[in-house]
């Protein structure tokens, strides 16, 4: 007589050490083998889009901080650009430079968390704390300028909330010099660690066409080996003036598009961000950072879709204006939301422990998934 068997359903989350927030994954497992992963979202839904409809355009900026709370400047940046495009205004050179430098600093800070938590998921807790130590430098640089450490409300429509602190340039340069050797240290400690490679190489392989079809972006897409970076392929602000490379996954340790590639792309991207900062930091022109801030933001009727390269991928704002001071509809195309969708595809046939590694390599922020 055949024994009746059924798959075990394991609820991972919403309270779980490595779902990076309140994500619930419903795993259908057979022993340790994962047959199906169903993500359940919404535990951190804070009605951003509904709130935005009740706000004036400039009042929405602090709310955007709370989307991807690890890269708040990037969120401000995207929103400001979208509204500026709707209004058709130009911002001063000085603002553009400061925005780019801030966004790149924020990108490094965000990648540090991503890399660190990816390592911590696999069991390496020490690199995680090293990276938080390094992130601290960036946070204090930004804090000195705009007073906040995480949710900055820094980039406003048409300008910035504060001009940079007099020490900003010196400290940023110091940070660049400090940070370069620590990338090498990180590589030696984690990237080329045999166990780490064993755990991430050939795991969760994402082919390019699947990645594009699922709308993946950012390091998740570039890890699959395609050079696609909005800073170069759809340039915004003044990114076209800087010289930088787009690191892509090459399958150095396994297959192109595996977890290790996605992880490694982030490390190499931090180097490129440093390059951009170093090119920009000496050329910040003089000027008033608030001169272009409109007194009253009342864009004409119309729609706009503006996308920027956030640390996690393509952050898009779709804004519908009905000609009043309130946005009629603000839709956020959150990179984590879209990148997370591919998880079910990636995890099939791997073990429970690999689900954690894959989730860590996609690097989601629940604030942005649930909005």
């Amino acid at each position: 007589m055949a024994l009746k068997t059924e798959h075990m359903v394991l609820n991972m989350g919403p309270q779980h050490p490595s779902t990076h927030g309140v994500l619930r994954l419903e795993l259908e497992i057979e022993g340790e083998l994962v047959n199906k992963v169903t993500p359940h979202l919404g535990y951190l839904h804070r009605c951003f889009e509904k709130h935005a409809e009740a706000m004036q355009y400039n009042q929405v900026v602090p709310y955007t901080d709370r989307l991807d709370y690890l890269a708040a400047i990037g969120n401000n940046f995207g929103y400001a650009l979208a509204v500026e495009k709707l209004l058709g205004i130009e911002v001063p050179e000085r603002v553009e430079y400061i925005r780019v430098i801030m966004a790149e600093l924020q990108r490094i800070a965000s990648h540090l968390v991503a890399i660190g938590s990816n390592g911590a998921d696999i069991g390496a807790l020490t690199p995680f704390l090293y990276l938080f130590r390094d992130r601290e430098h960036i946070l204090s640089i930004i804090e000195e300028t705009c007073g906040a450490r995480m949710l900055y409300n820094y980039i406003w429509v048409g300008g910035l909330s504060h001009d940079i602190h007099p020490d900003f340039v010196r400290k940023t340069k110091e940070f660049c010099n400090y940070f370069k050797p620590t990338i090498v240290e990180l590589d030696n400690l984690l990237s080329y660690n045999k166990i780490f490679i064993e755990r991430t190489a050939n795991i969760g392989v994402l082919p390019v066409d699947t990645a594009i079809n699922f709308g993946s972006s950012g390091p998740t897409l570039r890890g699959s080996g395609i050079k696609f970076d909005l800073r170069r392929d759809d340039p915004y602000s003044i990114y076209d003036r800087f010289d930088f490379e787009i690191p892509v996954g090459k399958g150095l340790m396994g297959t192109v598009g595996d977890c290790w590639d996605r992880y490694y792309v982030r490390i190499r991207e931090m180097e490129q961000s440093l390059r951009i900062i170093e090119q920009a930091i000496d050329h910040i022109p003089e000027g008033d950072v608030q001169s272009a801030i409109p007194k009253r933001i009342k864009p004409p009727k119309g729609t706009v879709y503006k996308r920027v390269e956030n640390p996690r991928g393509e952050l898009g704002y779709f804004i519908v204006s009905d000609g009043t001071v309130n946005p009629f509809r603000v839709k956020v195309r959150a990179p984590s939301f879209v990148n997370l969708e591919v998880l079910g595809e990636l995890c099939k046939g791997y073990l429970v422990a690999d689900v954690i590694a894959i989730l860590g390599s996609i690097d989601i922020v629940l604030g942005e998934v649930d909005r």
Binding site: E32, I122, T126, Y130, R133, L189, I195, E198, L351, A353
Partner: protein, 355 residues
Amino acid sequence: MYQYFYDLTGNTILATLIVAVFPLVNVLIVALIGVYLERKVSAWIQDRVGPNRTGPFGLFQTVADFVKMLQKEDATAKDIDSKLYNIAPVLVFTGSFAAYAAIPFSSKLIGSEAEVGLFYVIAISSLVVGGILMAGWSSNNKYSLLGAMRSAAQIISYEIPTAIIVLSIVMLTGTLSLDKISNMQTAYFWNWNIFGGAEFGITKFLLIPFMVVGFIIIFISTLAEVNRTPFDIPEAESELVAGYFTEYCGMKWAMFMLSEYGNMFAVSAIVSILFFGGYHSPIGYLGNSLGIEWLIPFEQAFWFLAKGWLFILIQMWLRWTLPRLRVDQLMSLCWKYLIPYAFVNLIIIGVISLL
């Protein structure tokens, strides 16, 4: 030692109790210092400060934790199998505590001078697997169950290479008594088994490389047996929350903790007895040169604890440096690499000892 106290008190029960208290105190102290050290070592490694508020240098942090643990409510879930659930932590603790009975702390401080000490330690520490399986099954929690299954598979698998290496030492020394094995490596450190044992000759130099290999294998597999990183898969916190003891709290949880640190010291002790001369000093005794006879056992106890703690420190160092393996990689490491190498090592050591 039992004989000594029996002569002193003339009562078997009293003597047994007194003898049992020593290892118990040791386990508690090991756990107390071990937890503190783990925190401090991890803090130093991670560029942090670590506990520094409770007492000087945070020394009382663990004491405070234990007091907190004692006061905690014993919260249990509704649908647990309460019999097994309550027995499990006791069984796990018994398993690791009972091993201390045969471990010689010094020539005068041995719970039982059993002839089959080594065999006894390996056998009794397998009790832990039963306890872990019970804990995992009775908790009625899927994470606990997965953790328990992983743990059972892991501990049982890694006992094989451990046993084979132990066998090769037994072949060489011709005894199962831990005390006798220690005594064979007396005087200076070049008499330790890792340096080929006390017998001087060509075989000693032939043995050294294979002894080193044997030490590495047994160190790795004992690391796996006590569930330390990179083999902490049963309690992998980022995957299984806390593994088989997810549902435990308060003192029951503390029992698991105690037995973990107890086990750490026990395996370190076994490794140091087998390869590093046990309680014998590497550089001779102060008591001998000064002519103070009674000082020697104390010196021996010091060296034994020092060796044990050294291995614990290495375990901690590894834990805070390395990521964690996956369950299938762990198994393939054991079955594809450690066991074959251990067998080859056993045969070669056997041939050499015949020379």
